[in-house]
């Protein structure tokens, strides 16, 4: 069901990865994303996958849970795969009518698919192992040097967290509204694509209304508890850079070095 989408969800566990400083994890994620784009050989992908697997194992988040979040995106991956496979010149491997599959096309398609999967799994590890609150603190702390040039780092971070926080809520809301309209005989599963798009209106209108209501309630609740932005705000849990973070930092340097070497020499 629609509730199975797990993007942005936190998975409570006691693990070395969960304990890391959120800043370390954010930088780790950025480095990882860069690495996924740098890599250009199967060996390189193998290496990145291995490192990701190690992090997942350390985090003790069940693989089945992570893969479930992939399901809704599977279609997009499949789509890009088929788009890519027909788009490139090179040695022709197979000809189906006007469509040709070349070795270059196949290679690019497979690479793109692997890249997408690695990207999604890797970046979801960040939210799976970091509480939203910690994530905000981390983003805010990383952005704080930019405060001097007028970047509202606290507000930006807060907005991001709230957006993440609301993904499951809005999915739940969608589920409820869909059921209610189904009870009134609405059909979301059959008909042409235009019909289906039109059938979405009974879901979208109430969903927007709900979203505004929830946002308003939330703003009110925050103000009622004297929230007034980042100025002079202190924290209950200060984020701390520990020994684990230092180890992870060193591993990260090693990781990116290997990836760069692969890029240059393979």
């Amino acid at each position: 069901m629609i509730r199975d989408i797990t993007i942005g969800q936190y998975y409570q566990r006691e693990s070395p990865i969960h304990r890391l400083d959120p800043r370390t994890k954010i930088i780790m994620t950025i480095v990882y994303i860069v690495a996924v784009f740098l890599v250009k050989s199967f060996a390189g992908f193998g290496f990145v996958t291995l490192c990701l697997a190690a992090v997942i194992a350390l985090s003790r988040v069940p693989l089945s849970f992570i893969l479930r979040g992939l399901k809704p995106i599977f279609l997009i991956i499949l789509f890009t795969f088929f788009l890519n496979i027909f788009m490139y010149g090179g040695t022709v491997l197979l000809k189906i009518g006007p469509l040709t599959i070349t070795d270059e096309g196949l290679r690019t398609a497979v690479f793109m698919a692997i890249r997408l999967i690695l990207l999604i799994i890797g970046s979801s590890m960040l939210t799976l192992t970091t509480r939203p609150i910690q994530l905000t603190d981390g983003i805010e702390s990383l952005l704080s040097p930019l405060k001097r040039v007028g970047v509202p780092s606290h507000e930006l971070a807060m907005m991001m967290t709230i957006a993440l926080r609301f993904i499951p809520t809005l999915l739940e809301e969608t589920d409820k509204i869909m059921k209610a309209q189904q009870a009134r005989g609405a059909d979301f599963e059959s008909g042409s694509i235009f019909r289906r798009a039109k059938n979405m209106i009974p879901i979208l209108v109430p969903l927007f209304v709900s979203a505004f209501r929830i946002a308003q309630d939330m703003a009110l609740a925050m103000e009622a508890r004297c929230y007034h932005g980042g100025e002079g705000r202190t924290r209950m849990n200060k984020i701390k850079f520990g020994a684990g973070d230092a180890v992870m930092g060193l591993l990260m340097i090693g990781f990116i070095a290997v990836v760069v070497l692969e890029r240059v020499y393979l």
């Binding site: 009870a183 209106i201 009974p202 109430p206």
Partner: protein
């Protein structure tokens, strides 16, 4: 229209870490034309249960027969089920979406593929059945209405499909006392005029006691008790153990009985109870005074 539920089990997210057995082997029947009240603690599975009765949720195990037809089979038409069983969700006002009240109420009948004329008639009837003025309200945007009015429009949207069974999931949640009474009166009148089988999910014991012919008590996904309101509410201690209350009238009658004034505990009506208590007090007083004279 009757409903028979047999050994119904529903598990949310089976096989996942957050697996949740919401219903566990529930069986009961709803007789044609009867009024069934469903009560239970928050999270006991009431909403999950009623969502099965018109095919919104599919059971993990078990069978559901509506009018003798097994609706858990793969090849049954969902439109047909929804024609027979109307379900008003908890907080139904959040499902309004059209520009005008009339259009919103017409959404259900339209989905049933009825001819235009018949739709108009049903919309008019439904809006009047829920106690609103059709001419006055038909072109108003549903988003401009008050909470109680929105609730009525949403209920009208289900009634316009003219189901044989009407299920209402906490139709009075979050309403003021006046709207609460109005909605209940409306349900009672509708039932009388349309001969609908009605199922009411409620946290309000007084309402259930007064209106239902049969009460189902759900606890942690199991059917904990079943019977007439008199039978169920005579087991005050069991109900309290399940986190439920007694109707206010029953509560008083029970307390009186504990303290030696037995006015019976069968009624849920304030006036009847008052008369019974008065009779018991007089009877008691007479007995006492006659005892006094004998001495």
């Amino acid at each position: 229209m009757s409903i028979e539920v047999s050994n119904l089990t529903h598990i949310y997210s089976p096989g996942q870490p957050e697996e949740q057995i919401a219903l566990d082997g529930i069986s009961f029947t709803v007789e044609d034309g009867s009024f069934v009240g469903i009560i239970g603690h928050t999270g006991s599975g009431k909403s999950t249960l009623v969502q099965h009765l018109n095919g919104i949720l599919r059971p993990t195990r078990g069978k559901i027969y509506v009018d003798g037809e097994d609706i858990t089979q793969k090849n049954v038409s969902l439109t047909d089920i929804r024609k027979k069983v109307g379900l008003v969700f908890q907080y139904p006002e959040y499902q309004l979406f059209e520009e005008t009240v009339a259009k919103d109420v017409a959404f259900g009948p339209k989905n049933l593929g009825l001819p235009e004329q018949q739709i108009d008639m049903r919309v008019r009837n439904a809006i009047e059945l829920v106690g609103l003025d059709y001419e006055e309200i038909k072109d108003v945007s549903p988003f401009e209405l008050s909470g109680g009015q929105k609730r009525r429009v949403a209920i009208a949207g289900v009634i316009a499909m003219q189901p044989g069974v009407l299920i209402l999931d906490e139709p009075t949640a979050g309403l003021d006392p006046k709207s609460h009474d109005d909605i209940l009166k409306m349900i009672d009148e509708m039932r009388a005029s349309q001969q609908m089988t009605t199922i009411l999910v409620s946290h309000n014991m007084d309402d259930v006691a007064k209106m239902a012919d049969k009460v189902l008590v759900i606890d942690e996904g199991r059917l904990a008790m079943e019977g007439t309101p008199q039978e169920v509410f005579s087991k005050g201690e069991d109900l309290t153990a399940l986190g439920l209350d007694l109707p206010a009238v029953t509560h008083i009658l029970m307390k009186l009985k504990e303290n030696g004034i037995d006015a019976g505990t069968d009624t849920f009506d304030v006036k009847e109870a008052a008369a019974a208590i008065a009779a018991a007090l007089e009877g008691g007083a007479e007995a006492e005074s006659s005892a006094g004279q004998e001495e």
